[in-house]
């Protein structure tokens, strides 16, 4: 049986200078910057355009009921997960499959922690208190932006879980290719962390 082999998964492409997966993930991240950038732009427009008083005024922190403590804990969770992700790649690069896999498992656990905290301590209580995307412009932006970010975390969970279990067989066939795929996963994962670094002050502190 002949198997189609993707070119340039390990060795750099002669024209781009990198293995093709890496350029691909960077182009994808560039499109992600546009996606989140449009939403941040909307936030700026709606906030500065809000009237000073009345029902359409921008809500104060007392009105949004968002806890910087919960947001701060989730910020630290994502930062630690970025470290474990990059350590997973570093261990694989040094041929330590078992250690790399443990770091990958830690990243997965932290990603799931982020989602659980977000749902159990933020989204669900907000919904129970009747604070919905339809409540005001702030909550429309809050749920859209953190929701889209949360979906990205969920996407990361799926990809990391794949490489942790069924996808890990690739290591035994082609360790360099596997390590490169983990590097691409990491690039995506750090970007998700990077978006949160901006979302945290914008939503919880300003």
């Amino acid at each position: 049986m002949s198997v189609a082999v993707l070119p340039h998964t390990v060795k750099p492409h002669p024209i781009t200078g990198v293995y093709s997966g890496k350029l691909g993930i960077w182009l994808f991240l560039a499109s992600e910057v546009m996606l989140f950038g449009a939403l941040f732009s909307s936030y700026v427009l709606l906030r500065v355009g809000a009237p000073a008083e009345g029902p359409a005024a921008w809500p104060s922190h007392a009105d949004t009921h968002l806890s910087w403590k919960i947001g701060g804990i989730n910020t630290l969770v994502l930062i630690i997960s970025s470290v474990t992700m990059v350590m997973a790649w570093a261990e694989l690069k040094m041929n330590n499959f078992t250690k790399g896999r443990w770091y990958l498992a830690a990243t997965l656990a932290l990603a799931l922690t982020f989602i659980v905290v977000k749902l159990a301590f933020e989204y669900i209580p907000k919904f129970q208190h009747g604070l919905l995307p339809s409540t005001n412009n702030f909550f429309a932006l809050y749920f859209t932006m953190t929701g889209l970010h949360g979906l990205h975390v969920l996407g990361g969970v799926i990809v990391i879980a794949w490489f942790l279990l069924p996808g890990s067989g690739l290591w035994h066939k082609d360790p360099e290719y596997f390590t490169n795929r983990i590097e691409c996963t990491g690039l995506y994962w750090h970007f998700v962390d990077l978006v949160w670094i901006f979302l945290f002050p914008v939503m919880y502190l300003l």
Partner: protein, 120 residues
């Protein structure tokens, strides 16, 4: 291969250093937000810290510090230009309004005088 291992060990020290910096800066972000400088001042400080944190993540975790491929830098440069254009859109949508409306729109949160004029 031994050289690559030494490089990765150096990288690992950088990863831990960046982790410490990100954790400290998160605490700093929260701490400075407890003070009220001015509306613009608080936004500027928070975004400056966030931008610095983001650049640490991009440079070290995302390996841009060691990235030499022009293809990736081109993609990032073009992305940067379009991102600036995107953030400039709110300003552009406001720029053809009469001056007093612009003033109202941008200074309304500070309770600027022209807002009171237009509302009465």
């Amino acid at each position: 291969m031994a050289g690559a291992h030494a490089d990765i060990s150096k990288h690992k020290r950088a990863y831990y250093a960046v982790f410490a910096a990100l954790a400290v800066l998160t605490v700093v972000t929260v701490a400075v937000a407890q003070f009220h400088f001015s509306d613009v001042g608080n936004v500027a400080v928070a975004l400056a810290i966030a931008a610095f944190k983001a650049s640490l993540v991009a440079a070290i975790f995302m390996h841009l510090k060691w990235e030499k491929a022009p293809s990736i830098w081109w993609a990032l440069a073009i992305c940067g230009i379009f991102f600036i254009a995107l953030l400039a859109l709110p300003v552009l949508t406001n720029s053809d309004n009469p001056p007093q409306v612009q003033h109202t729109m941008w200074d309304v949160r500070a309770g600027a005088a022209p807002a009171a004029h237009t509302s009465h």
